[in-house]
Symmetry: C2
Subunit: 236 residues, 2 copies
Protein backbone atom coordinates (compact mmCIF):
# COMPACT_ATOMS: atom_id res chain seq x y z
CA UNK A 1 0.00 0.00 0.00
CA UNK A 2 1.40 3.35 -1.04
CA UNK A 3 1.97 5.76 1.80
CA UNK A 4 -0.08 8.96 1.54
CA UNK A 5 1.64 12.21 2.26
CA UNK A 6 -0.27 13.85 5.08
CA UNK A 7 0.64 17.32 3.92
CA UNK A 8 -1.40 16.80 0.79
CA UNK A 9 -4.65 16.25 2.60
CA UNK A 10 -4.17 17.99 5.95
CA UNK A 11 -5.91 21.14 4.83
CA UNK A 12 -9.09 19.44 3.64
CA UNK A 13 -12.37 20.25 5.39
CA UNK A 14 -12.78 16.61 6.36
CA UNK A 15 -9.74 16.84 8.62
CA UNK A 16 -10.46 20.20 10.20
CA UNK A 17 -9.80 19.99 13.91
CA UNK A 18 -7.68 16.87 13.61
CA UNK A 19 -4.19 17.26 15.00
CA UNK A 20 -1.46 16.71 12.42
CA UNK A 21 0.04 13.88 14.41
CA UNK A 22 -3.33 12.13 14.45
CA UNK A 23 -3.84 12.51 10.76
CA UNK A 24 -1.34 9.82 10.07
CA UNK A 25 -3.31 7.41 12.16
CA UNK A 26 -6.40 8.08 10.11
CA UNK A 27 -4.59 7.74 6.84
CA UNK A 28 -3.05 4.46 7.90
CA UNK A 29 -6.49 2.92 7.72
CA UNK A 30 -6.92 3.93 4.13
CA UNK A 31 -5.57 2.51 0.94
CA UNK A 32 -5.49 4.34 -2.33
CA UNK A 33 -6.55 3.21 -5.75
CA UNK A 34 -6.43 4.42 -9.30
CA UNK A 35 -9.50 4.38 -11.52
CA UNK A 36 -9.10 4.72 -15.25
CA UNK A 37 -11.33 7.05 -17.19
CA UNK A 38 -14.89 5.75 -17.52
CA UNK A 39 -14.52 2.98 -14.99
CA UNK A 40 -17.09 2.40 -12.26
CA UNK A 41 -16.00 2.98 -8.68
CA UNK A 42 -19.15 1.58 -7.19
CA UNK A 43 -22.62 0.76 -8.41
CA UNK A 44 -25.96 1.89 -7.10
CA UNK A 45 -27.42 -0.80 -4.87
CA UNK A 46 -24.10 -2.46 -4.10
CA UNK A 47 -22.95 -3.09 -0.55
CA UNK A 48 -21.42 0.08 0.83
CA UNK A 49 -18.13 -1.46 1.85
CA UNK A 50 -16.02 1.66 1.54
CA UNK A 51 -16.08 5.40 1.55
CA UNK A 52 -13.83 7.59 -0.51
CA UNK A 53 -11.82 10.77 -0.68
CA UNK A 54 -10.97 11.89 -4.18
CA UNK A 55 -7.34 12.92 -4.64
CA UNK A 56 -7.09 13.39 -8.40
CA UNK A 57 -9.50 13.36 -11.27
CA UNK A 58 -13.25 13.75 -11.37
CA UNK A 59 -16.12 11.47 -10.48
CA UNK A 60 -19.72 11.56 -11.57
CA UNK A 61 -22.36 10.34 -9.11
CA UNK A 62 -25.53 9.31 -10.88
CA UNK A 63 -28.83 7.81 -9.82
CA UNK A 64 -30.85 5.50 -12.04
CA UNK A 65 -34.59 4.89 -12.01
CA UNK A 66 -36.13 1.42 -12.23
CA UNK A 67 -36.91 2.27 -15.84
CA UNK A 68 -33.36 3.18 -16.70
CA UNK A 69 -33.41 6.97 -16.78
CA UNK A 70 -30.47 8.60 -15.08
CA UNK A 71 -29.78 11.85 -13.35
CA UNK A 72 -26.42 13.21 -12.35
CA UNK A 73 -26.45 13.78 -8.62
CA UNK A 74 -23.18 15.69 -8.65
CA UNK A 75 -19.64 15.82 -9.87
CA UNK A 76 -16.98 15.14 -7.29
CA UNK A 77 -13.85 17.29 -7.40
CA UNK A 78 -10.48 16.50 -5.82
CA UNK A 79 -10.55 16.96 -2.05
CA UNK A 80 -14.19 15.96 -1.73
CA UNK A 81 -15.54 12.84 -0.10
CA UNK A 82 -18.04 10.53 -1.74
CA UNK A 83 -19.73 7.21 -1.15
CA UNK A 84 -20.61 8.23 2.41
CA UNK A 85 -23.51 5.81 2.59
CA UNK A 86 -22.38 4.45 5.92
CA UNK A 87 -22.19 7.82 7.60
CA UNK A 88 -25.86 8.29 6.95
CA UNK A 89 -26.76 4.76 7.95
CA UNK A 90 -27.34 3.21 4.55
CA UNK A 91 -26.09 -0.28 3.85
CA UNK A 92 -26.04 0.19 0.09
CA UNK A 93 -24.86 2.93 -2.22
CA UNK A 94 -27.77 5.06 -3.35
CA UNK A 95 -26.00 6.05 -6.56
CA UNK A 96 -23.36 4.90 -9.02
CA UNK A 97 -19.92 6.54 -9.13
CA UNK A 98 -17.98 6.70 -12.39
CA UNK A 99 -14.54 8.18 -12.91
CA UNK A 100 -14.92 10.62 -15.78
CA UNK A 101 -11.17 11.11 -15.94
CA UNK A 102 -8.29 9.01 -14.72
CA UNK A 103 -8.73 9.37 -10.99
CA UNK A 104 -7.13 8.49 -7.68
CA UNK A 105 -8.99 8.10 -4.41
CA UNK A 106 -8.30 7.19 -0.83
CA UNK A 107 -10.49 4.37 0.37
CA UNK A 108 -11.52 3.53 3.90
CA UNK A 109 -13.46 0.44 4.79
CA UNK A 110 -16.93 1.34 6.01
CA UNK A 111 -16.22 -0.73 9.09
CA UNK A 112 -13.52 1.72 10.15
CA UNK A 113 -15.91 4.66 10.34
CA UNK A 114 -17.39 4.09 13.82
CA UNK A 115 -13.96 3.65 15.33
CA UNK A 116 -12.59 6.72 13.58
CA UNK A 117 -15.52 8.84 14.67
CA UNK A 118 -15.19 7.73 18.23
CA UNK A 119 -11.52 8.55 18.29
CA UNK A 120 -11.84 11.78 16.27
CA UNK A 121 -15.23 13.36 16.83
CA UNK A 122 -14.37 16.22 14.49
CA UNK A 123 -14.75 13.77 11.65
CA UNK A 124 -18.44 13.45 12.42
CA UNK A 125 -18.86 17.18 12.82
CA UNK A 126 -17.01 17.89 9.58
CA UNK A 127 -18.99 15.30 7.69
CA UNK A 128 -22.22 16.67 9.10
CA UNK A 129 -21.25 20.04 7.74
CA UNK A 130 -20.44 18.61 4.34
CA UNK A 131 -23.64 16.64 4.10
CA UNK A 132 -25.61 19.63 5.32
CA UNK A 133 -24.12 21.81 2.63
CA UNK A 134 -25.01 19.24 0.02
CA UNK A 135 -28.53 19.13 1.34
CA UNK A 136 -28.85 22.85 0.86
CA UNK A 137 -27.46 22.65 -2.63
CA UNK A 138 -29.93 19.94 -3.34
CA UNK A 139 -32.78 22.14 -2.17
CA UNK A 140 -31.53 24.93 -4.34
CA UNK A 141 -31.58 22.58 -7.28
CA UNK A 142 -35.17 21.60 -6.51
CA UNK A 143 -36.07 25.24 -6.30
CA UNK A 144 -34.51 25.89 -9.69
CA UNK A 145 -36.19 22.92 -11.29
CA UNK A 146 -39.52 24.12 -9.94
CA UNK A 147 -39.30 27.74 -10.88
CA UNK A 148 -36.89 28.27 -13.75
CA UNK A 149 -36.88 27.47 -17.42
CA UNK A 150 -34.42 25.11 -18.93
CA UNK A 151 -32.10 27.75 -20.30
CA UNK A 152 -31.65 29.33 -16.90
CA UNK A 153 -31.09 25.98 -15.26
CA UNK A 154 -28.39 25.11 -17.76
CA UNK A 155 -26.77 28.46 -17.14
CA UNK A 156 -26.74 27.86 -13.40
CA UNK A 157 -25.38 24.36 -13.83
CA UNK A 158 -22.49 25.52 -15.99
CA UNK A 159 -21.66 28.34 -13.63
CA UNK A 160 -21.56 25.90 -10.74
CA UNK A 161 -19.32 23.53 -12.65
CA UNK A 162 -17.07 26.42 -13.58
CA UNK A 163 -16.78 27.46 -9.97
CA UNK A 164 -16.09 23.96 -8.76
CA UNK A 165 -13.89 22.69 -11.56
CA UNK A 166 -13.18 25.57 -13.85
CA UNK A 167 -9.78 26.10 -15.39
CA UNK A 168 -8.95 29.69 -16.25
CA UNK A 169 -7.87 30.25 -19.80
CA UNK A 170 -7.22 33.50 -21.60
CA UNK A 171 -10.33 32.87 -23.65
CA UNK A 172 -12.52 32.12 -20.68
CA UNK A 173 -13.15 29.35 -18.19
CA UNK A 174 -13.03 25.73 -19.22
CA UNK A 175 -14.85 22.93 -17.44
CA UNK A 176 -11.91 20.80 -16.49
CA UNK A 177 -13.22 17.34 -17.34
CA UNK A 178 -15.10 15.67 -20.18
CA UNK A 179 -18.80 16.43 -20.03
CA UNK A 180 -21.39 15.72 -22.69
CA UNK A 181 -24.67 17.41 -23.59
CA UNK A 182 -26.32 14.34 -22.16
CA UNK A 183 -24.58 14.85 -18.81
CA UNK A 184 -25.75 18.43 -18.61
CA UNK A 185 -29.26 17.34 -19.51
CA UNK A 186 -29.16 14.89 -16.62
CA UNK A 187 -28.04 17.62 -14.26
CA UNK A 188 -30.83 19.98 -15.23
CA UNK A 189 -33.77 17.73 -15.90
CA UNK A 190 -34.01 18.10 -19.65
CA UNK A 191 -32.92 16.28 -22.81
CA UNK A 192 -29.64 16.31 -24.64
CA UNK A 193 -31.44 17.80 -27.64
CA UNK A 194 -32.57 20.82 -25.73
CA UNK A 195 -29.12 21.31 -24.21
CA UNK A 196 -27.57 21.09 -27.65
CA UNK A 197 -29.93 23.72 -29.01
CA UNK A 198 -29.21 26.02 -26.08
CA UNK A 199 -25.46 25.70 -26.38
CA UNK A 200 -25.64 26.24 -30.13
CA UNK A 201 -27.51 29.44 -29.47
CA UNK A 202 -24.99 30.58 -26.91
CA UNK A 203 -22.14 29.78 -29.22
CA UNK A 204 -23.70 32.08 -31.83
CA UNK A 205 -23.78 34.85 -29.27
CA UNK A 206 -20.18 34.23 -28.30
CA UNK A 207 -21.10 33.19 -24.78
CA UNK A 208 -19.46 29.79 -24.98
CA UNK A 209 -17.14 27.77 -27.11
CA UNK A 210 -17.80 24.07 -27.05
CA UNK A 211 -17.16 20.80 -28.71
CA UNK A 212 -17.23 17.12 -28.05
CA UNK A 213 -17.44 16.75 -24.26
CA UNK A 214 -15.80 20.10 -23.83
CA UNK A 215 -17.15 23.48 -22.80
CA UNK A 216 -15.48 26.84 -22.37
CA UNK A 217 -17.37 29.76 -20.90
CA UNK A 218 -16.11 32.70 -22.93
CA UNK A 219 -18.34 35.22 -21.27
CA UNK A 220 -19.11 34.05 -17.74
CA UNK A 221 -20.74 37.31 -16.86
CA UNK A 222 -23.07 37.08 -19.81
CA UNK A 223 -24.10 33.65 -18.59
CA UNK A 224 -24.73 34.99 -15.11
CA UNK A 225 -27.07 37.50 -16.70
CA UNK A 226 -28.90 34.72 -18.49
CA UNK A 227 -29.11 32.69 -15.31
CA UNK A 228 -30.75 35.51 -13.45
CA UNK A 229 -32.99 36.76 -16.18
CA UNK A 230 -36.63 36.72 -15.15
CA UNK A 231 -38.70 34.21 -17.11
CA UNK A 232 -40.25 36.70 -19.50
CA UNK A 233 -37.67 39.38 -20.12
CA UNK A 234 -37.49 38.22 -23.69
CA UNK A 235 -34.48 38.41 -25.97
CA UNK A 236 -34.62 40.54 -29.09
Amino acid sequence: MAKVDTSLVAHLPLFGGVKPEDLDEILREARSARYPKNSAIFEQGADAQSFFLLLHGHVRAAKTTPTGEQIVVRYVAPGETFGLAMAIGAARYPATAIAVDDSVALIWPTSAWPRLVERFPSLAANTLQTVGTRLQESHTRILEMSTQQVEQRVAHALLRLAKQSGKKLDRGIEIDFPISRQDIAQMTGTTLHTVSRILSGWEQQGLVESGRQRIILRDPHGIVVLAERSPDSGAA
Copy 2:
Protein backbone atom coordinates in the same frame (compact mmCIF):
# COMPACT_ATOMS: atom_id res chain seq x y z
CA MET B 1 -40.11 27.23 31.86
CA ALA B 2 -42.22 24.08 31.76
CA LYS B 3 -40.32 20.90 32.56
CA VAL B 4 -40.26 18.40 29.71
CA ASP B 5 -40.95 14.80 30.52
CA THR B 6 -37.94 12.82 29.38
CA SER B 7 -39.97 9.72 28.76
CA LEU B 8 -41.80 11.49 25.96
CA VAL B 9 -38.71 12.12 23.92
CA ALA B 10 -36.26 9.45 25.04
CA HIS B 11 -37.12 7.14 22.16
CA LEU B 12 -36.51 9.69 19.42
CA PRO B 13 -33.72 9.05 16.93
CA LEU B 14 -32.01 12.25 17.97
CA PHE B 15 -31.35 10.82 21.41
CA GLY B 16 -30.27 7.35 20.37
CA GLY B 17 -27.21 6.34 22.37
CA VAL B 18 -27.81 8.96 25.03
CA LYS B 19 -28.11 7.53 28.52
CA PRO B 20 -31.46 8.27 30.15
CA GLU B 21 -29.79 10.05 33.03
CA ASP B 22 -28.00 12.32 30.56
CA LEU B 23 -31.12 13.12 28.66
CA ASP B 24 -32.29 15.38 31.42
CA GLU B 25 -29.15 17.41 31.13
CA ILE B 26 -29.79 17.96 27.46
CA LEU B 27 -33.41 18.88 27.97
CA ARG B 28 -32.49 21.36 30.67
CA GLU B 29 -30.92 23.51 28.01
CA ALA B 30 -34.12 23.68 26.05
CA ARG B 31 -37.25 25.67 26.49
CA SER B 32 -40.53 24.87 24.83
CA ALA B 33 -42.91 27.13 23.00
CA ARG B 34 -46.31 26.98 21.46
CA TYR B 35 -46.96 28.25 17.95
CA PRO B 36 -50.51 28.92 16.86
CA LYS B 37 -51.72 27.72 13.50
CA ASN B 38 -50.28 29.71 10.60
CA SER B 39 -47.67 31.51 12.68
CA ALA B 40 -44.06 31.78 11.55
CA ILE B 41 -41.45 29.98 13.64
CA PHE B 42 -38.53 31.47 11.80
CA GLU B 43 -37.98 33.25 8.52
CA GLN B 44 -35.62 32.45 5.70
CA GLY B 45 -32.53 34.61 6.00
CA ALA B 46 -32.95 35.33 9.70
CA ASP B 47 -30.18 34.69 12.19
CA ALA B 48 -30.19 31.02 13.13
CA GLN B 49 -30.40 31.55 16.85
CA SER B 50 -32.15 28.30 17.71
CA PHE B 51 -32.80 24.80 16.58
CA PHE B 52 -35.99 22.89 17.19
CA LEU B 53 -37.58 19.57 17.97
CA LEU B 54 -41.25 19.38 17.14
CA LEU B 55 -43.39 17.84 19.87
CA HIS B 56 -46.91 18.42 18.59
CA GLY B 57 -48.43 19.76 15.44
CA HIS B 58 -46.99 20.12 11.95
CA VAL B 59 -44.58 22.56 10.41
CA ARG B 60 -44.02 23.48 6.80
CA ALA B 61 -40.49 24.42 5.71
CA ALA B 62 -40.53 26.50 2.55
CA LYS B 63 -37.92 28.23 0.45
CA THR B 64 -38.60 31.42 -1.47
CA THR B 65 -36.87 32.70 -4.59
CA PRO B 66 -35.76 36.30 -5.02
CA THR B 67 -38.79 36.72 -7.29
CA GLY B 68 -41.23 35.43 -4.73
CA GLU B 69 -41.97 31.89 -5.89
CA GLN B 70 -42.03 29.31 -3.16
CA ILE B 71 -41.39 25.63 -2.86
CA VAL B 72 -42.18 23.43 0.09
CA VAL B 73 -38.97 21.82 1.26
CA ARG B 74 -40.74 19.42 3.59
CA TYR B 75 -43.36 18.97 6.24
CA VAL B 76 -42.06 18.36 9.74
CA ALA B 77 -43.88 15.78 11.83
CA PRO B 78 -43.75 15.42 15.63
CA GLY B 79 -40.48 13.91 16.81
CA GLU B 80 -38.47 15.47 13.99
CA THR B 81 -35.87 18.19 14.29
CA PHE B 82 -35.84 21.31 12.16
CA GLY B 83 -33.99 24.57 11.86
CA LEU B 84 -30.64 22.77 12.03
CA ALA B 85 -28.81 25.54 10.23
CA MET B 86 -26.08 25.65 12.82
CA ALA B 87 -25.29 21.96 12.62
CA ILE B 88 -24.39 22.42 9.00
CA GLY B 89 -22.48 25.59 9.61
CA ALA B 90 -24.94 28.14 8.31
CA ALA B 91 -25.47 31.37 10.19
CA ARG B 92 -28.91 32.01 8.73
CA TYR B 93 -31.96 29.87 8.13
CA PRO B 94 -32.13 28.73 4.52
CA ALA B 95 -35.92 28.41 4.66
CA THR B 96 -38.99 29.68 6.44
CA ALA B 97 -40.84 27.52 8.97
CA ILE B 98 -44.58 27.94 9.47
CA ALA B 99 -46.78 26.04 11.88
CA VAL B 100 -49.62 24.65 9.79
CA ASP B 101 -51.45 23.51 12.91
CA ASP B 102 -51.19 24.59 16.52
CA SER B 103 -47.76 23.27 17.39
CA VAL B 104 -45.34 22.84 20.25
CA ALA B 105 -41.60 22.61 19.90
CA LEU B 106 -38.52 22.31 22.06
CA ILE B 107 -36.03 25.04 21.39
CA TRP B 108 -32.30 25.00 22.00
CA PRO B 109 -30.11 28.02 21.50
CA THR B 110 -27.72 27.49 18.62
CA SER B 111 -24.92 28.41 20.97
CA ALA B 112 -25.58 25.28 23.02
CA TRP B 113 -24.94 22.93 20.11
CA PRO B 114 -21.12 22.75 20.22
CA ARG B 115 -21.15 22.07 23.94
CA LEU B 116 -23.86 19.42 23.61
CA VAL B 117 -22.05 17.68 20.80
CA GLU B 118 -18.81 17.64 22.69
CA ARG B 119 -20.47 16.14 25.72
CA PHE B 120 -22.72 13.75 23.78
CA PRO B 121 -21.08 12.77 20.52
CA SER B 122 -24.05 10.59 19.61
CA LEU B 123 -25.96 13.78 18.94
CA ALA B 124 -23.66 14.56 16.05
CA ALA B 125 -23.83 11.02 14.74
CA ASN B 126 -27.61 10.94 14.99
CA THR B 127 -27.95 14.30 13.32
CA LEU B 128 -25.61 13.22 10.56
CA GLN B 129 -27.84 10.26 9.96
CA THR B 130 -30.95 12.43 9.87
CA VAL B 131 -29.43 14.95 7.51
CA GLY B 132 -28.08 12.17 5.34
CA THR B 133 -31.50 10.62 5.05
CA ARG B 134 -32.96 13.96 4.07
CA LEU B 135 -30.27 14.34 1.44
CA GLN B 136 -31.26 11.04 -0.09
CA GLU B 137 -34.91 11.98 -0.07
CA SER B 138 -33.97 15.18 -1.71
CA HIS B 139 -32.14 13.33 -4.47
CA THR B 140 -35.13 11.10 -4.95
CA ARG B 141 -37.26 14.16 -5.38
CA ILE B 142 -34.88 15.54 -8.00
CA LEU B 143 -34.99 12.22 -9.78
CA GLU B 144 -38.77 12.31 -9.81
CA MET B 145 -38.91 15.87 -11.03
CA SER B 146 -36.54 14.99 -13.84
CA THR B 147 -38.16 11.82 -15.04
CA GLN B 148 -41.81 11.70 -14.09
CA GLN B 149 -44.90 13.51 -15.17
CA VAL B 150 -46.85 15.70 -12.85
CA GLU B 151 -49.53 13.15 -12.06
CA GLN B 152 -46.99 10.61 -10.89
CA ARG B 153 -45.16 13.18 -8.82
CA VAL B 154 -48.35 14.19 -7.08
CA ALA B 155 -49.11 10.55 -6.41
CA HIS B 156 -45.68 10.03 -4.85
CA ALA B 157 -45.99 13.19 -2.78
CA LEU B 158 -49.35 12.16 -1.34
CA LEU B 159 -48.13 8.67 -0.57
CA ARG B 160 -45.16 10.11 1.28
CA LEU B 161 -47.37 12.46 3.26
CA ALA B 162 -49.68 9.60 4.07
CA LYS B 163 -46.80 7.51 5.33
CA GLN B 164 -45.36 10.33 7.40
CA SER B 165 -48.53 11.90 8.71
CA GLY B 166 -51.41 9.71 7.66
CA LYS B 167 -54.32 9.01 9.98
CA LYS B 168 -56.08 5.73 9.34
CA LEU B 169 -59.80 6.03 8.85
CA ASP B 170 -62.27 3.37 7.81
CA ARG B 171 -62.64 5.17 4.51
CA GLY B 172 -58.95 5.42 3.87
CA ILE B 173 -55.95 7.42 5.02
CA GLU B 174 -56.26 11.09 5.80
CA ILE B 175 -53.39 13.55 5.65
CA ASP B 176 -53.38 14.70 9.22
CA PHE B 177 -52.95 18.45 8.77
CA PRO B 178 -54.36 21.19 6.57
CA ILE B 179 -52.80 21.14 3.13
CA SER B 180 -53.92 23.06 0.09
CA ARG B 181 -53.66 22.38 -3.64
CA GLN B 182 -51.12 25.15 -3.70
CA ASP B 183 -48.98 23.38 -1.09
CA ILE B 184 -48.98 20.18 -3.10
CA ALA B 185 -48.09 22.14 -6.20
CA GLN B 186 -45.12 23.59 -4.37
CA MET B 187 -43.99 20.14 -3.33
CA THR B 188 -44.11 18.74 -6.83
CA GLY B 189 -43.06 21.61 -9.02
CA THR B 190 -46.33 22.37 -10.70
CA THR B 191 -49.27 24.78 -10.34
CA LEU B 192 -52.30 24.63 -8.11
CA HIS B 193 -54.46 24.46 -11.21
CA THR B 194 -52.85 21.29 -12.41
CA VAL B 195 -53.04 19.74 -8.96
CA SER B 196 -56.70 20.63 -8.75
CA ARG B 197 -57.40 19.01 -12.10
CA ILE B 198 -55.54 15.87 -11.09
CA LEU B 199 -57.34 15.54 -7.77
CA SER B 200 -60.68 16.16 -9.44
CA GLY B 201 -59.91 13.33 -11.80
CA TRP B 202 -58.91 11.04 -8.98
CA GLU B 203 -62.03 11.92 -7.06
CA GLN B 204 -64.11 10.82 -10.06
CA GLN B 205 -62.32 7.51 -10.02
CA GLY B 206 -62.86 7.11 -6.30
CA LEU B 207 -59.16 7.24 -5.54
CA VAL B 208 -59.38 10.18 -3.16
CA GLU B 209 -61.88 12.24 -1.28
CA SER B 210 -60.87 15.81 -0.77
CA GLY B 211 -62.02 19.25 0.17
CA ARG B 212 -60.71 22.50 1.42
CA GLN B 213 -57.21 21.80 2.71
CA ARG B 214 -58.13 18.22 3.33
CA ILE B 215 -57.27 15.01 1.51
CA ILE B 216 -58.21 11.42 2.17
CA LEU B 217 -56.66 8.62 0.18
CA ARG B 218 -59.54 6.21 -0.29
CA ASP B 219 -57.58 3.78 -2.41
CA PRO B 220 -53.92 4.01 -1.47
CA HIS B 221 -53.04 1.01 -3.57
CA GLY B 222 -54.65 2.54 -6.61
CA ILE B 223 -52.49 5.60 -6.09
CA VAL B 224 -49.39 3.45 -5.79
CA VAL B 225 -50.27 2.00 -9.17
CA LEU B 226 -50.57 5.49 -10.62
CA ALA B 227 -47.28 6.51 -9.05
CA GLU B 228 -45.45 3.64 -10.67
CA ARG B 229 -47.17 3.71 -13.99
CA SER B 230 -44.72 4.16 -16.85
CA PRO B 231 -45.16 7.48 -18.64
CA ASP B 232 -47.07 6.11 -21.60
CA SER B 233 -49.22 3.24 -20.33
CA GLY B 234 -52.22 5.36 -21.07
CA ALA B 235 -55.57 5.25 -19.30
CA ALA B 236 -58.74 4.39 -21.22
